[in-house]
Assembly symmetry: C2
Homo-oligomer: 770 residues x 2
């Protein structure tokens, strides 16, 4: 194990690199030209204008006021100053609660560290075991850990007591935090202004009906079963192909703009391009004409696809967004079962319109069930066997292999520099590439599982990532060998043996984790604030694509808090802290620095940079809480395993009640708070309804909800329904129309017919009428 001097040196290096990042950040953020990279949030909010207007030419790009450079850390107090309520309003509850996780880490570990250093460090230090062992070179660091206490010593009572104290303190902070977040969420929901998702339910698995279209079927079902509350609905179109076309056209548009800009700057020289892929080969043509014509073709295709979707009954998916007249009616429909067959007419709260994941809205129940089975099996193999394909790639990447397969490359490979690059980097790169694409793999798996909202996908990916980290980073660092070998050896060991095997190795790995914390947790977080990639991308875009202020607005990439990858990373620090609290307290200060530093950095980012894709009202908190409990239980199990190797097998049983109580605490908290994150109580719904009725008695809800849940590619196009609210609107049995031409045709038919069912419409075979 490394000595205190070694750790000190490593800390110095990492601190220096962290400060280097911070200094670079401080320099760059003061340059007006980077303003949109480091303060995009304020631009999106419309509070900050473009800095290029008012100042001189030089001042537009470079900041020449030297006093601002001296105070290069003054963003830190600024980040801390915004009060929480303002922060919620400014950045949303999701972000505000997310940075509370770091605060929770501080609340949890500062008292634990004080206690551990006050009680356990003296006990360990005076243990005098390691001094008597000659053949191993132990350092001062080890003398601070539990390894220095002789086996069977009564000193372990201190550790057992402290384990209980730490558990109780952890549970207390978790309970208080869960309570606070639940209250924040309820207050947020209560204070929220009217939003379409408050009044809308997502209905999936609408059963096919031979007599009626999906549209009519949904309408009749809800008119009959929620007669007093049903207002209107929107069917879901399968617009995945259309979305692809729209994305293609956008890319073309970028190229067109690029060449137009080029031409504008150099009007003498009309730019050319080649017709092949990427513009690298093929015949040379005039670039602006080429892309203009391509755009036209795409526009035609798009129009045809739009037409097809509107007229093809098969383009309507068996799902719908059903809106109600009141929050009470919505809460009722979202939380009850509609049909005796629980696999059809599935209702759930509609996600926010931005939050909908459109591709997954129409998966049948059986398929969903099979998809979940398959992804679970796949996840298992991904976690435990992920090293196998990588080892395979690594073995392929050795020089002899490459020479044999691709013999013509021989002269190149035998060059000295190429050789060393391949030998030195290729194996590492294979692993690195895998780790970079891992979040994408996990997200794809969650998408295959069939969840219907982005927030849910994020939550599920975070769960997968968490287990990957536990098995491959945590256990992988402690025990040598691949996860699959571990799994095999665990299956062949008694269950009581596993915590022992792992527990024994824990004190020895403290320095590894300390180094990890400094590299990933200190320098890594400092790199986060520098935003190198968005900085480069913004300046590239700004140079080649931006013509107007609006373009510049779109060239900004504010990014967002990526819950799916960053939350499991925090959990890993919690796990380290809990595991090492009673084993090697020396690790704790490093974790505290991580939490404090991250808190400031992310608070700054949330205030100035990130723009969240959706707002879920901190719905992820039950997951965070549950995973923290899992970390706590892992730490307890490992402590039991460790103690049972110290000639204290009987005493270890004393830690069993702690484990049971933690399980119980988890169940208690789930019963006490979890429903605040998944259900909407009728009392609250009624209060909001009553208030709304009193304040806005003449609100036209139907008009308000009309286009709320239209697929983004249809937004603002083709869906302009007549704004006239005719008398039929008050009769819920008359369907709401979407496309104007069908509506007007149908209206004339419906007015001459007394039946509520649009029979006439059926004959025309036009499902475009919603």
């Amino acid at each position: 194990m490394a000595s205190i001097q070694d750790i000190g040196l490593s800390a110095a290096i990492n601190l220096m690199s962290a400060f280097a990042f911070l200094f670079a950040f401080a320099m760059l953020r003061l340059q007006p030209v980077n303003d949109r990279v480091y303060f995009p949030k304020w631009y999106l909010k419309g509070i900050r204008g473009s800095p290029t207007r008012s100042r001189g030419i030089m001042n537009r790009f470079v900041n020449l006021d030297w006093t601002t450079y001296v105070k290069f850390l003054n963003w830190m107090p600024a980040a801390l100053q915004m009060p929480e309520l303002e922060l919620i309003e400014h950045a949303g509850l999701d972000s505000a609660v997310y940075i509370r996780i770091y605060l929770l880490g501080l609340k949890m570990f500062v008292p634990i560290t004080l206690l551990a250093f006050g009680v356990l460090v003296p006990v360990n230090w005076t243990g005098e075991t390691l001094e008597n062992i000659d053949d191993l070179t132990f350092s001062n660091v080890d003398k601070l850990s539990i390894s220095n206490v002789p086996p069977g010593s009564p000193r372990f009572w201190a550790h057992i007591t402290m384990t209980y104290v730490f558990t109780i303190w952890t549970c207390y902070t978790l309970y208080m935090e869960y309570k606070t977040v639940a209250i924040m969420r309820l207050r947020h929901l209560a204070a929220e202004s009217r939003r379409p998702d408050q009044l809308t339910v997502l209905v999936r698995n609408v059963p096919p009906d031979s007599d009626e279209s999906v549209n009519e079927h949904v309408e009749h079902f809800f008119c009959v079963n929620h007669p007093d509350h049903y207002l209107c609905h929107q069917v879901v179109y399968n617009a995945n192909d259309l979305a692809k076309l729209v994305a293609q056209r956008k890319a073309m548009q970028n190229w067109l703009t690029y060449y137009e800009n080029k031409y504008e700057r150099k009007p003498t020289d009309r730019p050319t391009t080649k017709t092949g892929y990427g513009g690298f080969w093929g015949t040379t043509v005039d670039a602006i004409d080429f892309y203009t014509s391509k755009m036209e073709v795409l526009a035609e295709k798009e129009a045809a696809e739009r037409e097809k979707i509107m007229n093809d009954p098969k383009a309507i998916m068996p799902a719908a967004f059903v809106s109600f007249k009141s929050r009470w009616g919505t809460a009722v429909c979202a939380q009850t079962q509609q049909c005796h067959n629980p696999t059809i007419w599935l209702t759930e709260w509609a996600p926010e319109p931005r939050d909908v994941f459109w591709d997954n809205l129409a998966i049948p129940y059986v398929e969903l069930s099979i998809r979940r089975l398959l992804t679970t099996v796949a996840l298992f193999f991904l976690i435990f066997c992920f090293m196998i394909p990588i080892a395979f790639v690594q073995s392929l990447a050795n020089l002899e292999g490459i020479q044999k397969v691709l013999s013509f490359l021989k002269p190149v490979i035998e060059m000295k520099t190429v050789k060393s690059v391949i030998q030195g980097f290729l194996p590492g790169i294979a692993l690195k590439i895998f780790l970079i694409i891992l979040p994408t793999i996990l997200m794809t798996m969650s998408q295959i599982e069939g969840y219907t909202s982005l927030s849910y996908l994020d939550r599920r990916s975070a769960e997968k990532s968490f287990w990957f980290i536990i098995v491959n980073v945590f256990l992988g660092s402690i025990i040598t060998g691949t996860a699959f070998q571990q799994l095999k050896s665990f299956l062949e060991q008694p269950p009581t043996e596993i915590p022992k095997t792992v527990g024994v190795s824990i004190p020895m790995k403290a320095t590894i984790f300390i180094t990890y914390i400094m590299v990933d947790g200190w320098a890594g977080i400092a790199a986060e604030i520098l935003r190198v990639v968005p900085l480069v991308v913004f300046h590239l875009k700004n140079t080649f694509l931006v013509k107007t202020e609006q373009d510049r607005q779109q060239a900004m990439d504010p990014g967002h808090l990526d819950f799916a990858t960053s939350e499991p990373r925090i959990q890993f620090y919690f796990l380290l802290g809990l595991v090492y609290a009673a084993v090697a307290p020396i690790l704790l200060p490093f974790i505290i620095v991580f939490f404090a530093f991250s808190y400031v950095v992310f608070r700054h980012q949330v205030i100035n940079v990130y723009d969240q894709k959706y707002e879920s009202g901190a719905r992820y908190w039950p997951d965070v809480h549950r995973r923290l409990i899992i970390c706590l239980i892992i730490s307890q199990l490992l402590m039991m395993g460790l103690l049972s190797t110290k000639k204290l097998a009987k005493v270890t049983a004393l830690l069993l009640p702690q484990l049971i109580l933690t399980f119980w605490f988890n169940r208690y908290c789930a019963g006490r708070f979890e429903s605040a994150f998944s259900k909407f109580p009728l009392q609250e719904a009624m209060v909001k309804d009553t208030l709304e009725k009193a304040t806005e008695p003449n609100l036209n809800l139907k008009e308000y909800l009309k286009d709320a849940y239209v697929h983004p590619v249809f937004k603002g196009k083709d869906f302009d329904r007549p704004r006239v609210v005719d008398e039929e609107e008050s009769n819920p049995l008359v369907p709401t129309r979407r496309t104007s031409q069908v509506t007007s045709r149908y209206n004339s038919e419906a007015s001459s017919s007394t039946t509520a069912t649009p029979v006439a419409n059926k004959n025309t075979g036009s499902p475009g009428s919603m």
Copy 2:
């Protein structure tokens, strides 16, 4: 292992005893005097009159028609003749579905047996392993089992294939049965006539309010949050003390009747009794006067207690039965969350009035949570350590111990007969007594857990009993040593070792289980039909207590299907069948006989004898299904363990997909069917509401529901509310009154007041006004 001859002999003995029971039953049931013991159901239904009226004196008691004796088994076809729909109507869905479990056993195991005997028995028989072993005495029975196949033989492919076939067949029958039962339940609910529980919700944990009584608080809450649906409610009184007094008075009444009967038969001799406990000591007094005066004292106490409950605000528990105007409104309230705090205003479907377990209606959430934790821990110790106190009692019960502690008993103990009785029976009796009181212990534990209906208590007790049987009967028979020793050795073995240890022993234990099936499953079931205890009790009561026809009616004890004890017993037979299907198919025919015989016997009992305490509409089926899946998984694990000891470790991995698919099948079924047993879909509710509104437009629901959920001790007494339906009834804000005197007083006050809240009533401090 026993030979086929041994098993044949044992089978002959058990068959004979079973036939002896059946013959005794056939004789006894034909005697008119036993008619009420063997056909109580028909008396309760009012279809069968007393046989003593029409015939001659001799014929009243003994059946002299010899032809009826010849056909002593003719009850069997009679039991099978009633069609299922008629059975459901006659005995209820609970009973009809319960006997389908036996039928399911037949459906599952008859094809499995045929396949096993067609494929596995020849494969095993020609394995020729045991013939080559000299030192062990194997019999023909073993040659039919998997033990006869040499390790590493390709013959095991037959077993692996068959395991898959058996699993698929089992899952198929389970799926079909779940589907059938779900449809039966839905049809039953749809066809059901109006019942109070369809329109009522049980509300628990009503929060205390300093300004309002529980009564007012409930009313205002539901008036505000369910304005269109709330109808009325009934608060729950804490009448546990009163119920005790009522039970005491009933016992007194029995004694009084006994002495009055005695006096009537012998008018010259006025009966006497003694005043001490049980009438064994104390001063001698006139019995009739003594009990009459005692009755009077009790009646006074009862009246005082009643008065106290009506006037003491503390006697009202924070729970209420809230009724709604429609099934739709009820379904909504039962399935949604009312308040943002999920531990108060808890709503759930009200159990049937007969099904309510009144003692548990008012347990706060935190207490409930702690109670569940404690009973879970207690159950764990009960299952794994139950042998410890019994071993302690057994060690106390040896002769030396007793002589030492109670030396004055020495001369008695040294008598030869006493000695042999103590040595031979005491240890066994200690165990037997424990096993007899076990269901009571488990039921008490379930009661402590705080469930609110008898049906739920039964289901939870069955769950506990199931695990007790798995651990102590199944594993206990296979592995020697107490359950606690097993647990310890399991913790110290690798997890893959456990199925091996158990799996290896399985083939050797086949004969033990065959004997068990014959004793418990054949003779035991035959004893069930004889009803010895109810027979004796009925004749005792009939002789001493019965005066009128009504008394005789009450003296009948029809009993009921005891789900909590008998369902886990059936599960044990399923487990045996599944475990031995591929290992020792010889066991299967015995199980088939059990299922067939039990089916006939219980069908007869359900038709002629049992009177269920409640009707839950087969709500227990998800539990039955889940436990069957557990049995299937246990059998798969043990098969894997067994095969891995046969030099087939690699092949065993082929059985892993089977395990995963079974888990998935369980989840799929739960998602597909379970909600039919816990939720009431809004569509169905709406259909029933609409139908009721059309057929009975003038129904006075409030009158109908008035006394539905009154504690049984109040039934028909003191709760005569005014029958007049005044105009206030239509105003939901005016509370419903219960006791007439308070109502009339309040009515005069309320009519002069315009506020809806009964302020005047609050001042008088009279919470009796409901």
